[in-house]
């Protein structure tokens, strides 16, 4: 098989070979789903491709070079992680407006513990995560047990946490992060060999899982995906990630003689672990199933014996804890925490990322990978517009427009889904 960069193109390519080809059949099914209103990741993927083409054409030297590609990942990391947390809350049909300042506050706690009190970085990380979890617990209790709409609770938390953040930072204006480990999280790279090892682990792991699942379903007499389709998906993933790893493994320092910058950013490994772990929770555990059920029909979930209140509480705790992880990345990237850490448009970018990726604001539909794809779309816009020397005003307007387009795609696909009976 020739190496494809995307599954769809491969399948399109072999369409002429006859309708009995399983790849063609799979493509037909997929296309029928898209037409039926279940577009999945398609809009976000198309968005990424289109944006990359536009910026690569306008800024061929600066946009596509490896240095900028790594930079893009560092910029996107915090928004992606916060968006991953928001997916849990959005799946319930709720919202968390405070996630941005939860990130800022949790990062400030970490700064106080590590920089001011001089404790070690693991204690700082732990304090940061606990802060996030406590914020989520309070929000979750107010929403799930007291029944206050999440919009109001998290709006209050948004304002209050902004105050807490200012209080923690105090007169100085910033808390510097001087710990090398904390700085490394969202600034440094893995050795080149480790990047390739990670690549091998991801592709090999994915292949093992899907091939084993296929074999199991086949032996159980259930419907299963044609082996050609599975192999095509594995090949597509291998090529895509292989190109990325290669691109990140070449020397991107302007002065290689002084400092060498190459390798996959450490933060990519963190994102991958979160992607795999959280996707596992949502799709392979009873808890994940209950999250979707609660978002789809809370009353039905309750009658099925699901503790809906507990599910909601857990989702808010998860969301705020992930926001705290996002806060670590923001602080690491900036080497400091300021009153604007997690403020400004951080939250809106995160919500936008989840929605652009395909998570519905109406609950019951969404995946963790949505946060990554949507986060990349937003990061590419911000990064590319910056390279075009556009002022913030234009960047904001374009970002708003893209979010509007994404929300329209969501609404249109929902309408299509209703008329064709899908959700």
């Amino acid at each position: 098989m020739t190496a494809p960069t995307k599954v769809e193109t491969t399948e399109k390519h072999v369409e002429e070979t006859g309708p009995s080809n399983p790849l063609v059949a799979a493509f037909g099914n997929w296309w029928a789903r898209v037409r039926g209103g279940d577009a999945g990741s398609l809009p976000a993927l198309l968005g990424i491709v289109a944006l990359v083409i536009v910026f690569a054409a306008l800024r061929p030297n600066t946009f596509t070079n490896a240095f900028n590609f790594a930079n893009l990942i560092h910029q996107a990391a915090a928004v992606i992680v916060i968006a991953m947390g928001l997916v849990f809350v959005l799946l319930l049909g709720e919202i968390d407006l405070s996630a941005g300042y939860t990130a800022g506050t949790a990062a400030a706690v970490m700064g106080v513990v590590v920089t001011r009190w001089g404790w070690s970085w693991p204690v700082g990380l732990l304090a940061c995560l606990v802060t996030g979890a406590v914020v989520g617990l309070v929000i979750g209790l107010l929403v799930a047990k007291l029944g206050i709409p999440s919009f109001v609770v998290t709006l209050a938390a948004f304002l209050a946490l902004q105050g807490v953040l200012l209080q923690l930072i105090g007169e100085g204006g910033t808390i510097a992060i001087r710990d090398d480990t904390l700085r490394a999280i969202n600034n440094n790279d893995m050795p080149v060999w480790l990047g390739w090892a990670l690549f091998a682990l991801v592709v090999g792991g994915y292949a093992a899982i899907v091939l084993r699942r296929g074999a199991k379903r086949r032996s159980s007499g259930l419907t299963y995906e044609a082996i050609q389709v599975t192999l095509a998906k594995i090949a597509a993933l291998a090529v895509l990630l292989g190109l990325m790893t290669y691109w990140l493994s070449i020397e991107r320092s302007r002065n290689p003689a002084i400092t060498s910058i190459k390798g996959v950013p450490i933060v990519v490994a963190v994102l991958l672990v979160l992607l795999v772990g959280l996707t596992f929770v949502l799709t392979k555990t009873s808890f994940g199933r209950h999250v979707y059920a609660t978002g789809g029909n809370a009353e039905a979930a309750r009658r099925a014996g699901i503790n809906v209140g507990l599910v909601k509480l857990a989702c808010f705790v998860i969301a705020s804890t992930l926001a705290a992880v996002g806060g670590i990345m923001l602080a690491s990237r900036d080497n400091s925490i300021s009153p604007s850490t997690g403020g400004a448009s951080t939250l809106l970018y995160a919500v936008g990322a989840a929605v652009i990726g395909g998570t519905s604001l109406f609950g019951g539909k969404g995946r963790i990978v949505d946060a990554i794809l949507g986060g990349l779309v937003i990061a590419i816009i911000i990064n590319g517009m910056g390279l075009l020397n556009q002022p913030s005003s234009v960047v904001y307007m374009v970002t708003g427009l893209v979010l509007l387009v994404a929300a329209s795609v969501d609404a249109i696909s929902r309408r299509r889904a209703r008329s064709t009976g899908r959700v």
Binding site: K216, R217, S220, G221, L222, T223, K284, T285, S286, R289, H290, Y292, A293, G295, G296, N297, E299, A300, A301, R303, A304, G305, I306, G364, K365, A417, T420, G421, R422, V423
Partner: protein
Amino acid sequence: MTVPEGAAGAATATEDAAPLLSLRGINKSFGAVHVLQDVDFDAYAGQVTALVGDNGAGKSTLIKGIAGSQPFDSGEYVFDGRQVSVTNPKHANELGIEVVYQDLALCDNLDIVDNLFLGREVTKNGILDEATMERRAQETLAGLSVRTVKSIRQVVASLSGGQRQTVAIARAVIWNSKLVVLDEPTAALGVAQTEQVLRLVRQLADNGLAVVLISHNLNDVFQVADRISVLYLGRLAAQMKTKDVKSNQVVEVITTGRSDAIGGITNGNGELK
């Protein structure tokens, strides 16, 4: 009851084995309102027992009591020959009692298998065991002679009203339940789909389950029910076999509560109480 169980109608002893569910002297009040007054009710394995009555007669209160979501104030609750006290829905489920409510309580965004196992997912080492769930779902639907569903992995939102009802009923029987209560299963359906659901209701009874069917539609009742119980203003007005009565007689009992036309309250075997 004046006639001891099993003694009545000895000729039809097999058909009239002891009821699976037997309620005696059931009372339930909401504040000052006495909703159920000394109600007796029986449901037999392998038979469809229709529960009819006008709005406000106490049908919903009776089934909520059976399901344990609103326990009775007093009365005898005998299930499968044992006196039990059902005080919450979980307890009823453990006994093998399932209720399919009118709004079906399905999650539109989940597929058929997910809905069938919702809240009671099969897991292996903490991981959802999709293969087992899918196989059992297939078996259950096949056992109900359901062939109208294209794929059991399609989301419930894409199903027709009759198919949704089928999924809700399948969910009630997948746990080897013994008694299934169906609340107005045909209320929102068209002619063909009503037919399909009624056939399924009959199939449940033929598979050996006790079925309690609540319905406003006497055509449906006469088509599938073996017995009819009529509630009138919180009292049991009549309990009879379908083959012994005519539709207009049942209507009279429902509207007036007087059962003179069919010879007073019977014990369900055509004999006077």
